[in-house]
Each structure stands twice: as C-alpha cells, then as structure tokens.
Symmetry: C2
Subunit: 506 residues, 2 copies
C-alpha cells in the first residue's frame, strides 16, 4: 500500500469494519451503550438526527391522512396468542412483566412482589393491542379507512446487540391502518413503502432497493412484507424499513369487522409499517469515512458550526460579535422548511475543535478569525471534502449560497452511495461464481465480500435455506424494479422468472 | 331550580362531577380505557392536543439551552436503591420485568421463561438511570451545565386510576440538569417552573399558583419541590407540573463529580422537572361545560371545522369548492407560529355533525350552505358562547379576523377560569370555619366543598397530618406570591409567618 493517511478513527473501515462502527459512534458522541443489557442511550447529537427524521416522516404521514395516537406499552399474553405466526415470531424475545411492586427480601435487597394474575409483555410491536382498539372503533364502512401512526419505544430481547442496528429497546414509528377492501390495503402498503423510499433517498441520501420479502423473511403474521434494502460500506444489506400487507389475519384475530354499504358484515383489511432508530445506523454505515460520521444536510443534527478563532484577548469581542451576527443571519434562512441549524463553538480548548466537528459529521465548518473579518470573509470546510481542503468565501456570498452548498453535499453523498451500490451489485448466473462472490478473499477481513448478487431463484424455500446455511446469504428482496427475464435458479437450476437480491445482511 | 337546559353530556357537572368527567372524555373521542389495567389509549383528537402542548414546551426548553436525548426504559433495581428516599417513594408501585421470553406451559398457554439474573423495573422516573450517564459525561467544570430533556412514557402502578389524571402508564417530559453550583441549580429549578406557569396560563388558559411543597409532599429524593397548582371546576386542586431542586442527593447517589477550575473534585448539583398528559385532564376540568370539552385555541387539536351543508345534490360541487377554497386560505394563515388547523367535515350524516364538534371542544364551527355562499358569508359558532348563538360573517372578514377571534376565546377562557379560582379561594383564620369550608353541604354531592383555603400554618408536619386525616385536605403549596403576614396556625394556634394553600386534591 502507498502512503497511509492519518485518520481520526482507529481502526479504519478497511482494518476492521465492525470495530470502526463502534468507534465512529463513540467519536461522534451520538450514543453510548447503557448499563441495561442491550439498551442504548441516545445522546443529544444522535437524538437531534432522530428528531429531524421523525419530523420529515410525520409530515409525510399526515399528508396522506394519517393521524397520531398512543396505545399501551403492555400487551396481555392472550392478545399475542391470537395470531399464531405472530406469537411464534415474538415470544422468544420479549420482556415479561410479572410483578407490580418491590419489597425488601430477607437479605435486605429488594425483590419483586405483588404478582400479576396474568403476566404482561412489553410491546415488541403493537398489531394486537391496537387491533383491540380498532375492533371497537370500526362499526360501519363509514368509519373506514382508519389511518393511525404511533411514535413509541418497543422492546425485543435481542441476544446479540449492536448500537442503533439491533438493540433490546429502540424508538420507532408504527403505522396501522384498516381498510374496507383488499385493494385499498395493498395500495396503502405501497404508498407507505414509497414514503420510506423517498425518506431514505431524498433525506438520508441512502439509495434503496424496494421489493417483497420471501416467505421465510416475512413479518410474523403478514401476507406480504415489502421493504427498502440498502447496501452498507461493508457491502452487507440493511433492511431499513418495512411495510406489511396483513390481509385479514389480524382483523380475524382481533375481530375487526364492519357493516358494508349493503349491510353485510365483513372483516377489515389491515396494514402496518415502520422505521426505527436503525435508520441512524444505516446512515452512519452508508456515508461515514475514516474521519468519522458524515451527516446528510437535510436531516443533519446541525448544518454548520461557527468556530471563532481568538488568539488575543483584545480580538475577542470583535470576533464574537461578527460570529453572532453571522449566526443570526444563517438562522433566519430556511432549508427544506426549517431554519438553518447553527452551532457556535466558542469553547476555550484550542485547535481540537475543528476535528471534533469533523468526527461529528456536521456538513459545514466555518472558522472566523481577525484576518477573515478584515476581508469580510469566512473560512469554510465541507465535510464531503478533504479535511484540509478549506477555502475563504466572502461572508455575504456564503450566506446567499449556504443552502445551495448544503444541497450540493446532499447530492454528492447520494451519488457516491449509489455508485458504491451499483459497483458492488452484480448479475451472477453461475453457482461457483455465486459462492466465490460471497466468500471473503482475505481471512483477516472475513466481513469483506462481493456485495449484492442479482441471481435467479426458483421460488423454493429449500434452495433459499441451503444458500443461507452454506454462505449465510439471504434473499433481501424480490425487487419491484427487477429484471423480469427467464433464467435458472442459482441453487437448483430449475426455471425462474426473475432475479432476486441475494446478500449478507445485518 | 329554574328551567333545565338540555345538555349534551349526562350527568351534568352539578349532578355528578366524576362521572361527568368520564362522559365528557368519551363524548370528545379524546381517549379510552384499554384492556391493560390502568393504561389508556390516547385517540387522535386527544393526542393532537398533546402534540401541540409538546411542541410549545419543546421550543421553550430549547430556548433555554436544553437538548433532547433518550435513556433506557428499564432501570436495574440496584440503581433505584442508591437513593433511600427515592426507592421508598417508587418501590411500592412499579412494573417489574423478571423474564425475557415466553414458552408453552403444560396446558399449552404461554408462560414466562428465561429468568433474568437481576430484575428490571420499568422507569417510573429516570433520575437514577440518567444519573448513571451523567456520571460519565461530567469530568470537568467545563462540561457543565448539562441540560437534558427526555420525551418518554413512564409507568407507576397506581391502584386507583382515572383517565389522563392518574394512569399506570403516562406520557411526559422529564428534564434533568447538572450544575457546578447550588445557586445555578436553584435558578434552573425556578426557570423551568416559570416555563410551566407560562405554558399553563398562556397556552392552556389555566391559572396556576406557584410555590413549594411541604416536606411530606416533596418528590422522593428532592431537597425542594416547586409546583404549579390549579383549581378544577369541582374546586379541588390539581398538581399540574413540578420542578425539583435535588441538591447533591442524586449526584452523590450516582457519583456525578467534576473537577472545579481550581482542580478540586466536587459533586454536581442537580434538578429535574416534568409535566405529563395529566395536563390534558387539567385542561378538561378547567374549561369544559355540560356540552363537552372546550379547547383553548393556542393548543387546540384543531381551530376550526368547516361543515358544508348540502341538502340537494346539485349544490354539492359548488359548496365543496367554496369550502375547500376557504380551508386553503385559512391554512395559509399563521396562529402562534403554526398554520391554522382546519378540519372539513363532509360526512353524510346530517345535523348531528355540529353537536359532535361542540362535544369535541373545537373553538370555531363554520357552516357553509348555498345561501351563505350566495351572500359570500359563513355562519360561525364559537365554543365559548351558547351553542345556538351563531352569526353570519362575511367570508373575507372571517379570514381576516379568525386569529383575533381565536385569541378572544383564549382570553375569555383564562379570565373565566381565573374568576372561578378567585371566587373559591378564601382567607380563613378560624378553625371551625376552616372545617366547615371543606365539609360538603350536600350529602348527594360529597365532592362539592369550598375550594382553596389560604390559612396560616406553623410549619409542623403534625398539624398537616391531623388536617389531612380529619378533612382529607393537604397543603398544596407554600405560595411564592403569598401573603407574608404574621398569624396563627389554623390547626394548633402557634405562630406562623405566612399563609399556605390548603385544598382537597387529585
């Protein structure tokens, strides 16, 4: 290898991707693990990202007629039992509440007391508890559709956790709708998938493939699970959001019935759809580099940090006045409907400041010193360029141009991610080539492999299972935008009507 | 009694206040009880109110430098044990998680499995779990202050629950701060109390008394608990928000230490402060009448409903076009920084619509029929006036005036509530008069009593206890804005330097 650039994050992505991921989060100050097994603390810099993502999604949901509501955290066990596939999917990993108080035990320590007659589980998802409400809300076709969303925390007792990607507790939104017809429910499923795709591509700058899950990867209880799948920098896939057509499965389980216009009693058709704080993990693994996080401007926790450079006490007032005045002007601008988010870093800690902001992934860094002020300019660094590549820009020009610069960065991030995804996605028709594609070349880096294979699949779950057992590769989705051409199953050679996306996955 | 007006809510407030409260919530479609003991479902019309309240508070918090974050739902028991008063206060009513999966029992039903080595409790409040993070975040005086807020659900296993007022699970915000000095922490405690007072009075139109709790009513673990107390229409007090100065109690329990500028290791000083969905109950019990809820415009779920009146099919397009055009114009207006919130009720259900909106408490109802359109006017009903008191207003005038009309309603609601509070608050210096004030006159309405008594108290917890036992009356607060005059304790006759607020309370 040639010259080794000094990087802020150790190890680099190439050296050890999973460890790099932990380190980049630590260095960005976005989140930390908590003393509670598998639960995370989302720190202000990470939570602000979630606030921005939530706000965009909330607006998009409401624009389609969805309203927010809130349902209980706890679910009686017998609710879960109503849908057979559902209970199968969630019983293995749920937090169970069995008591409602603590009292002093014999050794003086507190022990659970007040045993509940019926244990409760902490919601892993809310189809059954919301279904119970829906069964009361729906009487007539006039009450339909019901379009509800909930912003909430959920708990799934994961054995192997990784911050943002897979945690025992996470934050998410879960949409739940009831419709009079199958067609309308299917249309809603697609509509919300489209919202997620737009969110991912236009805001998070993460290119995604939309499609349907195979039988084995479906949501427990769904008829069809549709999803957005993204490629991370280690070429693994991340399921970034799902939208489920639930048929009448949950309507029957929860007794959601309505009187049709012709006075016939019918079961409703339901959907559910969700994205979570996992999106933050996806954002980090799509855009960040060996110097830290890179935040896409449209959701960035902040857009720009102003760093006053004060070497002499006598300059202090002048520099701070200039900085504050610039901050006010920038905050008065609107970027995608919200004020430009400005941080001022006037801490007295010297030159480390700029690197801290690079690691945090802020799109723009602006240094302001007496010399810049003398020429009425500011010294601007962009997070999508080399850390040393900074340039002086006239202050008014900067104010006039900042929204364009932010959008340039946004576009660059998306284009880079798309190019990466395309580069590591390949049509593969030969079984040996397929196996080689997913076999690490370098034993020191077992995680590095080919990427996404677009290969034919006959539709048989047995072939899918064999591939998973041999290579730990799964069908990420049967893409909507796929290549509808005849071919032969990559595993068994039988006829196949279209290619599907095979990948290793988070 | 004179003529009995027909009301939409049965029973009326006078007939049975507690039942009226349940009925008014049902009729407004704001919330419902859930099948999970003590937990509520917040329906869209109720949740929108919470969204508006949250948004106002969130802006006000951020304006004081507070940032949002998120901490685990679960708290290890040994965390709770670290602060003696705290564990005493919360151990009696908490949900305890003891297992992490379910498996089929002998009878085929699911039973808890995977016992945890250490049980977890579902947070009733987060001082201890957040304190653990703070102990890692704080190293030096340069890291202070830390100003954090969390929007979250919490669980307190209440035995007697009442929707919005006291539920096992509720939504709230909890602010947690760490400061280098006692003075700064005390200042923050007062600053947030002031934010709550402004929120209550200027947005919820609920007049409040600010002050400090007596020793027996303090938050478990606090040095000082400050609060806002409001009078409901049954003259009982509602604690609507609290801001606690925690001294160094939790800093010592959680080991929150910092290096001072002179390099001495010191414990931090902490505060915490919160308001919850209980505010919605307070809003209902302050403003609503025997026809249903009345929402203060600044936080109302919606501001105005447009009700197209279509008696003939041929009118439909014209009326709907006119209605939609008016809706667009109204939505283009800004009321307290957000677009005017407009509902269109074009359901084909006849004359019941208007009454539904009255019960829901929307500030303005606008009927639009062919005759109104012919004169380019709309027919407007205000929720702060009699339901039959509607008047035609020129459409353009209405658009120009709507924000003023909303503010008129806001002011009327606050003035009415303030007049009610003043009317039922009395200086009482005689023990017999005090007892009589709190003794119901009418056995059929045991809840109706005098209201707030401003009486002298010597400061002795024994007197407080005797009064509570005899009358179920507590000291709601030692008011900041109180009458600092010498007097004699209403219970024991000993010297007292000021009056305190005595009341029955929720």
């Amino acid at each position: 290898m040639g010259k080794q650039a000094k990087t802020a994050i150790k190890p680099t992505r190439e050296e050890n991707y999973p460890e790099w991921y932990q380190e980049v989060i630590k260095a960005s100050d976005m989140a930390e693990i908590s003393p509670v097994r598998g639960c995370m603390v989302i720190k202000p810099w990470g939570y602000a990202l979630w606030e921005n993502i939530s706000r965009v999604l909330d607006d998009k949901f409401k624009a389609t007629g969805v309203k927010n509501a809130y349902f209980p955290l706890f679910i009686p066990i017998n609710f879960l039992e109503k849908e057979a596939a559902h209970v199968e999917g969630f019983a293995k990993e749920c937090a169970v509440v069995t008591h409602h108080r603590l009292e002093q035990g014999e050794d003086g320590r507190l022990v659970p007391a007040g045993k509940l007659a019926e244990p409760l589980i902490v919601r892993p998802t809310s189809e059954t508890i919301i279904g119970d409400s829906f069964s009361k809300w729906v009487k007539s076709y006039r009450d339909l559709p019901i379009l509800i969303n909930q912003w909430a925390n959920v708990v799934r007792w994961e054995m192997r956790t990784r911050i943002f990607l897979r945690t025992s507790e996470f934050l998410w939104q879960e949409g739940h709708t009831v419709h009079a017809t199958k067609e309308e429910a299917e249309e809603r499923t697609q509509m919300m998938l489209e919202v997620y795709k737009k969110m991912a591509e236009e805001y998070l700058a993460i290119p995604v493939i939309t499609g349907e899950k195979s039988e084995s990867e479906k949501f427990p209880g769904a008829e069809t699970t549709t999803c957005i799948e993204a490629m991370m920098q280690d070429r693994k896939a991340l399921q970034a959001g799902t939208s489920h057509f639930l048929g009448q499965n949950f309507a029957k389980a929860s007794d959601i019935k309505f009187q049709s216009a012709s006075e016939v009693e019918k079961y409703g058709w339901t959907t559910s759809w969700g994205v979570s704080t996992r999106l933050i993990g996806g954002l980090i693994m799509t855009h960040s580099d060996d110097n830290g996080v890179i935040m896409p401007p449209r959701v960035a926790s902040a857009h720009v940090v102003l760093i006053p450079i004060i070497r002499k006490d006598k300059d202090k007032n002048m520099v701070m006045d200039y900085t504050n005045e610039l901050a006010d002007r920038l905050r008065g601008l609107s970027y995608y409907g919200y004020p430009v988010r400005v941080e001022i870093d006037d801490r007295d800690i010297g030159g480390a400041k700029s690197w801290e902001w690079i690691k945090k992934g802020i799109p723009l860094r602006v240094e302001i010193g007496p010399k810049d002020i003398a020429s009425d300019s500011v010294f601007v660094g962009r997070r999508d360029k080399d850390a040393r590549d900074k340039s002086a820009i006239n202050k008014d020009t900067f104010v006039n141009e900042i929204c364009n610069i932010l959008d340039e960065i946004q576009t660059t991030l998306f284009q880079n991610a798309l190019a990466y995804q395309k580069k590591h996605t390949r049509n593969i028709d030969d079984k040996n080539a397929f196996d080689a594609f997913f076999t690490p070349k370098n034993k020191e880096h077992p995680e590095i492999h080919g990427g996404f294979a677009m290969s034919h699949w006959c539709g048989d779950g047995e072939c899918e299972k064999k591939i998973k057992e041999r290579l730990n590769v799964t069908i990420r989705c049967i893409p909507y935008d796929g290549q509808n051409e005849d071919g032969e199953c990559i595993e068994c050679g039988k006829d196949s009507p279209k290619r599907v996306v095979f990948a290793k996955a988070y």
